[in-house]
C-alpha cells in the first residue's frame, strides 16, 4: 500500500548573492506521513535552506514543494497552519520569561487567553521547564533554550514538524533528553523532517535518511540500506608505526580483500566475512610476531563510513565553520 507523502520537494534550486552561491542545486526529497526523515549533511550542505523553503520563509529560484498537499509557494498561509518549525538557532524572546513566550505564541496561534495559559503550563511541564518558567530566557542554558524553542513549535500539535539541527550545541545529556522528547512526538504520529550533522542522530531517530551535500541529495534509504552500500564488517588494527608493514601483511592474509592503511592514524583495516574468527586469527598472528597492537577490533560500518564513501570526504571536513559565532553567521545570511 502506498502511503501519503506529507512533504514533497522537487528540484529545488536556491542561489544567494545574485547567483554566486548555489545553496540548493536541484534538491528533491519527500517524507511519508507519520515517519521521520533525517536530512544529513555537513556545514553548508543546504539543510537550513531546505527547511526554510519548506516552512515558507524562503522562496526557491525554481522547483516545487508541497507540505500536507499544499503548495508552499502559492499558498504559504495555509501551510503555516499545519506546520511547526524550530530553527537552527533558538528563536524566542530573550527578555521575556519562558512562560511569557509560550503564552504569547499560544495567543498568536489564536488560542483563547485562558487556553493559552493552560497550554503554556502543559508544555513547560512536558519539557521539564516548570522550575524555570518565571525566569527570563536570557538566564537559560543552551539546552533549556532549545527545549523551549521546540515547545513553542508544538503549541497546536502540528501535523508536520521541521527541526533544524535540534541538538547542535547540546551536551551529551541534553542530546539524550532531546532525543527522548522527539521520540515521544513521533510516537504520537507527528511527521518529522529533521536535519542533523550527526550520523548517530539520524541513525537513532530517522526512519529514512537523505544524505545531502552541496545542495543535492546524494543518497537516501534506511540507515541499514545505507550501511549495506559500504559493505559489511571490517577488521581494524591500530599499531605502532614500525609494526604497520607486518600488520598490513597479516590483515591482507586474513581478509583477502582490499586493505586500507591510514599512516597518520596508524590504522590498518580491511573487510572480513568470518566475524569473530577473523579477530581471533589476527590476534594469534600478531602474538606470533610479538606485536602488541594499540587497538584491535571488528567494526560495523557507521554512517560516517557511508558519508565518506559517498562524498569522498568525511562529514567533519568543514567542521571549522561550526565554531563561528552563530550571530556572525546570521548577519552574513541577511
Amino acid at each position: 500500500m502506498r502511503r501519503v507523502k506529507s512533504v514533497i520537494a522537487e528540484n529545488l534550486v536556491k542561489t544567494y548573492d545574485k547567483g554566486k552561491v548555489r545553496a540548493l542545486n536541484g534538491l528533491s526529497l519527500d517524507v511519508e506521513e507519520g515517519t521521520v526523515l533525517g536530512v544529513l549533511g555537513p556545514n553548508g550542505a543546504g539543510k537550513t535552506t531546505t527547511v526554510r523553503i519548506l516552512a515558507t520563509l524562503l522562496t526557491p529560484d525554481s522547483g516545487h514543494a508541497t507540505v500536507a498537499g499544499i503548495d508552499v509557494i502559492k499558498d504559504p498561509d495555509r501551510v503555516r497552519e499545519v506546520i511547526g518549525l524550530s530553527g537552527q538557532y533558538a528563536a524566542v524572546d530573550e527578555t521575556l520569561t519562558g512562560w511569557d513566550n509560550l503564552v504569547m505564541f499560544s495567543r498568536l496561534y489564536h488560542l483563547s487567553p485562558s487556553h493559552s495559559k493552560k497550554r503554556a503550563e502543559e508544555l513547560l511541564e512536558q519539557f521539564s521547564l516548570t522550575d524555570a518558567a518565571k525566569r527570563p530566557i536570557r538566564t537559560y542554558s543552551g539546552g533549556m533554550r532549545r527545549r523551549l524553542d521546540l515547545a513553542a513549535s508544538l503549541i497546536v500539535k502540528p501535523k508536520i514538524l521541521f527541526l533544524d539541527e535540534p541538538t547542535t550545541g547540546l551536551d551529551p545529556r541534553g542530546r539524550q533528553e532531546m532525543w527522548g522528547v522527539i521520540e515521544g512526538l513521533v510516537k504520537d504520529g507527528t511527521t518529522l523532517l529533521l536535519t542533523t550533522q550527526y550520523l548517530e542522530e539520524a541513525d537513532q531517530l530517522a526512519d529514512e535518511i537523505a544524505v545531502i551535500d552541496n545542495g543535492t541529495v546524494i543518497a537516501r534509504g534506511t540507515s541499514d540500506e545505507l550501511k549495506r552500500q559500504v559493505g559489511g564488517e571490517r577488521l581494524e588494527i591500530v599499531a605502532e608505526t614500525q609494526d604497520l608493514k607486518k600488520v598490513t601483511a597479516i590483515v591482507e592474509k586474513i581478509s583477502g580483500g582490499k586493505v586500507l592503511v591510514e599512516e597518520s592514524a596508524r590504522r590498518v583495516s580491511a573487510p572480513v566475512s568470518t566475524g569473530s574468527k577473523a579477530l581471533i586469527d589476527a590476534a594469534r598472528a600478531l602474538d606470533d610476531e610479538s606485536i602488541h597492537p594499540l587497538d584491535i577490533g571488528l567494526k560495523r560500518p557507521s554512517l560516517d563510513d557511508v558519508f565518506i564513501s559517498l562524498t569522498g570526504h568525511a562529514a567533519e571536513d568543514k567542521k571549522e565553520e561550526e565554531v563561528v559565532d552563530p550571530r556572525a553567521r546570521k548577519r552574513k545570511k541577511k
Binding site: L57, R80, L85, G87, Y89, V92, L96, P136
Partner: protein, 266 residues
C-alpha cells in the same frame, strides 16, 4: 483577516511585557529626554533670547523637546526590529499563521504607546522647571495627542530602517544620521531667524518645525518665523503637520509591510 487586530495587540503586549521584565529600558528612555530638558533649560536658557517679551526660554523649549523626543521614537522601533531579525524571531513570527501586518503594526503601536509614559514624565519635569502652558487643559491634551500621532507615524519610518539594515547597531547609527539634522535644523531649540536665509526655508518647513510650531500654538505661544512667515505651512503649522503625518504613513506603512513580508524571502 479576522485576527489582524488581536494578533497585533499580542505583539504590542509583548513589548509592554518586555518593559516590565527589563524596566531599565523604560527608565533610560525617560531619563534621556528629562536630561535634555534640564540641560537646555539651564545651559542655553540664559543665552538664547526668545524674541518675545515676557516669555522665557523654557516655554519655547518644551514643545521643541517634546517633538524631538517623539521624532526619535523610530530609533526604538528600528533597533527593536533589527534585533528581532538578528535573533531569528522575525522568522519565527513569519512561520506562524498570523496576519502579515501584525508584527509591524503591533510594534509601532507599542512604540507609540511608550511615548505616553515618556511624555508624561517629561511634562512633569518641565513643569518643575517652570513650564506653564497658558492655553487650558483641552489644548494641552490636544497637543499631546498630536505628539503621539507624530511619534506613531515616525515609528513607521523606523520599521523600514530596522528591516533594511543588517544589525541593531547599524540601525541605531542610521537613525541618528537621519533624525539629528532634522531636529536641529528646526525651530525646536533656537529661533530660525538667526540662520542663513536659504536654510530658513528648510528649517521652517521641516516637519519637526511645523510640529513644534503647532504645539507652541496649542500651548498658547506665538511663533516667530523668518523668511517663510507669510507662507501657508507657517501660518497653519497644525494642518501642515497633519498633512506631513498622512504623507509619512501613506508612504511608509505600505513599504514597511511589504518589506516585512518579503524580508527573508529573498
Amino acid at each position: 483577516m479576522k485576527y489582524a487586530v488581536s494578533d497585533s495587540l499580542v505583539i504590542t503586549k509583548r513589548q509592554l511585557l518586555q518593559l516590565i521584565r527589563v524596566p531599565e529600558v523604560l527608565i533610560f528612555s525617560t531619563i534621556q529626554p528629562v536630561m535634555f530638558v534640564l540641560l537646555f533649560r539651564y545651559v542655553f536658557g540664559g543665552s538664547i533670547s526668545t524674541g518675545i517679551p515676557g516669555v522665557d526660554y523654557v516655554q519655547l523649549l518644551m514643545p521643541g523637546i517634546f517633538v524631538q523626543t517623539v521624532a526619535f521614537t523610530l530609533a526604538g522601533t528600528a533597533v527593536g526590529l533589527a534585533e528581532d531579525m538578528q535573533k531569528g524571531l522575525i522568522d519565527r513570527f513569519r512561520s506562524l499563521p498570523i496576519s502579515r501586518a501584525a508584527v509591524v503594526f503591533g510594534r509601532t503601536l507599542g512604540d507609540g504607546a511608550l511615548n505616553i509614559v515618556v511624555l508624561s514624565v517629561m511634562g512633569l519635569a518641565g513643569f518643575l522647571v517652570g513650564w506653564r502652558p497658558s492655553s487650558g487643559l483641552f489644548n494641552v491634551v490636544l497637543g499631546f495627542v498630536f505628539l503621539l500621532l507624530f511619534g506613531f507615524s515616525m515609528a513607521w519610518v523606523g520599521v523600514l530602517i530596522g528591516l533594511s539594515v543588517k544589525s541593531a547597531r547599524v540601525a541605531n547609527a542610521a537613525v541618528f544620521i537621519a533624525v539629528f539634522p532634522l531636529t536641529f535644523l528646526s525651530n525646536a531649540f533656537a529661533p530660525t531667524t538667526g540662520m542663513p536665509k536659504a536654510l530658513q526655508y528648510f528649517a521652517e518647513w521641516n516637519p519637526v518645525s511645523t510640529m513644534v510650531a503647532g504645539c507652541r500654538e496649542l500651548f498658547g505661544l506665538q511663533n516667530i518665523f523668518g523668511v517663510t512667515a507669510n507662507s501657508w505651512p507657517s501660518q497653519n503649522p497644525l494642518e501642515m503637520s497633519l498633512i506631513y503625518m498622512v504623507i509619512i504613513m501613506a508612504i511608509f506603512i505600505p513599504l514597511s509591510v511589504r518589506k516585512y513580508i518579503n524580508t527573508a524571502s529573498k
